[in-house]
Amino acid sequence: MRRLPLRVLASLAGVMAVTLVTTRIIPVNATTAGFTYLLLVLVIAAAWGFLEASLASLLATLCFNFFFLPPVGTLTIADPQNWVALFSFLVTALIASRLSAVAKRRRQEVERLYAFSRALLLSDGSGPFPARLVGKLAEIFQLTAAALYDRDSGELYRAGAAGFEDVRDQLRDAAFHGTAFTDNEGQRMIVAVRLDAEPVAGLAIQGPAMPKSLVQGIANLVAIGLERARAQDLAQQVEAARQSEQLRTTLIDAMAHEFKTPLTLIKAATTALLASPGEPLESRNEQLTIADEEADHLRELIDDAIEMARLDTARIEVHLEISDLPGTIREVTASMQSKIDERPLEMRFEQPLPAIPLDRRLIKIAIRQLLDNALKYSPGDTPVAIRVAGGEAEVTLEITDHGSGIPAPEQAHIFERFYRSPSVKHQIPGSGLGLSIAHSILRAHRGDLTVVSRPGETTFRMTLPTERTGENH
């Protein structure tokens, strides 16, 4: 806008230049001079606008009159036809500037629609999508206010400086019945956003006047944006459903395998007892003991499965108490004795260990997962080592096995939910949840779980902050 005086000056200078050339340098007759002025006015109007062109027209009329129309050298117009010349200049300026302004506005509209469509497609950030959409709309089209009523959710999203409090009813009408309103005083327009001819939302905008076609274009883009957002929501829901379905089948698979062992033994022992009532006392007791132990084992497995399902879906809450880590580890190994069987277990606990706050129940679950994996994924005659070392700020627990190792590309994924290495997936039963839950448990303790693996040696390292670091939060 600050360039307007400059442009006016340049326009007037242009007229003066034409006058100079046509009178002094290349003398021409009145008709040629008139056309030259007309051409100049046309160019100015097309390039700059009506104001510049009309001022140029006025000056051109004066010059034309003074230098070319008889009586030359005066500003009187003897012949009324000269009025026609002035009028032609002005009308040319008006029409050309209008045409150019319309073209410019069209271009701007298209540019804004393009910017808006890009914003819709690339939209990411926080908050609900319709709110972001309305914000972008107001920003790109420089509206004083914009509002969107989403028919599905019944939510009203507003953006812009003006309050726009009173549009809810009209928007709802637009969203449900497809009615449109135009309020000329407030320069406010309300249109229905349609998808396949069916209204899905109502859109209200307030600001510089816009042609209907532009508003319709905006409404169409809004419809596409809303539809896209809905498709994304749906995809997320489907993904969530798929994950929960996967959790269910995973647990069922794990149950099918793990639960059958105790069940098999209970069934085997009881059928043996039932079949031979005259069984010697010794073998009778042995079978009853097996059935009893396996019933306990079954209960543990069920508790574990429930715990895993719960930990997988719920946020993990830790109840910290100062605990003895070696004691906790011994409890885990004792409860897993039948799994450990004859496997050599090397335990090395560095003394003294700093006091560490931990949730014994959760840490036991994590240790059990790691130890179970170490036993499961390494040959039956190789040792498994458990080492605990204490430092100033943290205590580390390492569980090392001598299995075939985890290939480097898989190491990045093993803490992901349901991830199972393709190389063992079909041979060794597992849920793909254990490491992910152990990792979450350690993170909830402000600690960490990491892995170092090469063929023949895999170490999972749990890091737990000591009391001193724990106090800081």
Partner: protein, 232 residues
């Protein structure tokens, strides 16, 4: 006298513990192995009459162990599995198992299966040790069959089956009769067993197993052995 030597192969210590108690009480000599790999050594050292083999074990699984045992031995193998699926059953029998028991099992039934697997069809002294049927030679003493130049080992059940078939050559033998003759009186409905064993037999003795000429299927009835059997 021992009722037989049984090798229990299972990665679950409790299962081994139970089997040892139960089988010992019934007069079997028992040894155990924790893994498929270990079972192969034990088969050589302990020389069991029967192997109770768990299908799902870490490392070398039951199927691989069964196939490995079968390469140089014809001892009876019973496979234990947690899945009662047709695929598993066929896979187990295909790998060379003589029988298949699903966990959880009832102990009396398992013991009956063990007896059936160890059971040998009584061989009358008059029955021939070697026979020839056209191009096919069967050596019952050496437990082999083939063209004479190339001879293949037969498992005990395959041998019993072939013996019964040749003894009743050119007769349609019903499924039930075959099952009870070879596996024992508790059997009769396990037609799928027969199917797998016949398939394996055909693979070993037929020139073209896809179009068998010795052992043909009698639709809805059973099987028939064709050809004139000459004692050698």
């Amino acid at each position: 006298m021992s009722a037989g030597r049984v090798l229990v192969v299972d990665d679950q210590p409790q299962i081994r513990r139970f089997m040892r108690t139960t089988l010992a009480r019934d007069g079997y000599e028992v040894d155990e192995a924790r893994t498929g790999e270990q079972s192969l050594d034990k088969v050589r050292e302990f020389r069991p009459d029967l192997v109770l083999l768990d299908m799902n074990m870490p490392g070398m699984g039951g199927l691989a162990a069964c196939r490995a045992i079968r390469t140089d031995s014809t001892i009876a193998v019973i496979m234990l599995t947690v899945r009662n699926s047709e695929e598993d059953k066929v896979a187990a029998l295909d790998a060379g198992a003589d029988d298949f028991v699903t966990k959880p099992f009832s102990t009396p039934e398992l013991l009956a299966r063990i007896r059936a697997a160890l059971r040998r069809v009584p061989v009358s002294p008059s029955s021939p040790l070697r026979v020839r049927v056209g191009q096919l030679f069967i050596d019952f003493a050496a437990r082999t069959a083939g063209t004479g130049e190339v001879m293949t080992h037969l498992t005990p059940k395959e041998l019993d089956l072939l013996r019964y078939l040749t003894q009743h050559a050119n007769e349609a033998i019903p499924h039930r009769e075959l099952l009870q003759a070879v596996w024992g009186p508790d059997y009769g409905d396990q037609v799928d067993y027969l199917r797998v064993f016949i398939k394996n037999l055909r693979r070993k003795i037929e020139p073209n197993p896809e179009h068998p000429e010795f052992i043909t299927t009698e639709p809805w009835v059973g099987y028939r052995f064709n050809g004139s059997v000459e004692s050698l």
